[in-house]
Point group: C2
Chain length 214, copies 2
């Protein structure tokens, strides 16, 4: 047999080529031939590793989501070493803003997938439910953690606040994507809301501490 290539690695390369061309020309209008050319392989090869386009798209979505998860985890880990919950939360939310070109590509393609999944039942809407739910749980946990550390007021509904922050950052992200809003202003708005949550926490928990512990 020939050189016994690593299939998974090859699939990854092709999937990344798919994401690249989708970031340039849009997920619509990306064809097998485009992916093949971008990956530097023949059309047959793309067919070989992914038998059908649908499977290619599905794998591309999984790869995209996995990459985002890893990037976010790395960013959170990097921020979580020294700083407190606020920094971790900020890192988590800022990662989901299309600030640099790489992040821009991710958000564009991911949003394209999300829109596609509404009408194309083949593209499971599962990732678009599970992943946000996981993020929501994580963020709610971090907020609760901050609440325990008296950085956030005890009467704050961490679940609702987590939902709101994620939806806010998603909305700001699309605003950046379509060119309506600058990344800087989006970051400012996001920080403003974080300030609100954490500032209120300081004030009220300080008052609460006085009342309770003298």
């Amino acid at each position: 047999m020939p050189k016994r290539v690593d299939h998974e690695e090859r699939r990854t390369e092709i999937a990344e080529a798919l994401v690249r061309v989708a970031g340039r020309r849009g997920l619509h209008g990306v064809g097998m031939r485009d992916v093949a050319a971008e990956a530097g392989v023949s059309l047959r090869l793309v067919q070989y590793y992914f038998e059908t386009k649908e499977k290619l798209l599905l794998y591309g979505l999984e790869h995209l989501a996995a990459g985002f998860g890893a990037r976010t985890a790395a960013r959170v880990r990097a921020a979580g070493d020294a700083a407190g919950p606020r920094a971790v939360i900020e890192a988590l939310l800022l990662e989901s803003l299309p600030t640099d070109k790489e992040s821009r590509t991710f958000h564009l393609v991911y949003t394209s997938y999300a829109v596609l999944s509404v009408t194309d039942e083949a593209l499971a809407a599962q990732p678009f439910i599970e992943n946000p739910d996981a993020a929501e749980d994580a963020l709610a946990g971090l907020l609760r953690q901050a609440q325990d550390a008296r950085l956030v007021a005890p009467d704050v509904d961490t679940r609702t606040e987590a939902i709101g922050l994620l939806a806010l950052s998603a909305g700001l992200g699309t605003g950046i994507l379509v060119g309506q809003r600058s990344p800087e202003s989006a970051v400012a708005v996001l920080r403003h809301h974080l300030d609100r949550i954490f500032r209120d926490g300081e004030m009220r928990s300080a008052a609460g501490t006085e009342g309770r512990a003298g």
Copy 2:
């Protein structure tokens, strides 16, 4: 000449057919023939009233945006007769949530357009900047108005809050669209944030009134 048909009316009918089929099968994968069949006319007719597909898509976007604007204005007008700024703002924000099927279609197709506009330069990104900017101005104005009526604390940055509310509602809308979130919970989150803005206003402006006016 034959029956001298109203061009604009015909274009509207076809554009609405476009939106309908786009809501069912997605904006991608909507072809001239599909639109023609949905509108109950021949392919040639679609070509006749819109020479090219690009022009059809553009007109469809304009029609969609105009319809949304009219619907929002009507809803705001209906709410603005009796109630205060809070009700008006709530009406404005709730209209931009895909609660019923009609609104769902609008949001899906509009979002599809937005995603398209990022890569297809033909589809002007203009509507996706101008319209949100207008909504932002309107909402900021309403908040300022509420601030003048002492319903919102004077130290609230109305512009930032308007941006945040709109981004929040956009993000919640996508969450509903992909099936991650129920319309009810989205409405609850939105109301929660409105409560926060207006509740803080009552408390602080009451305190401020005592301090200033005794």
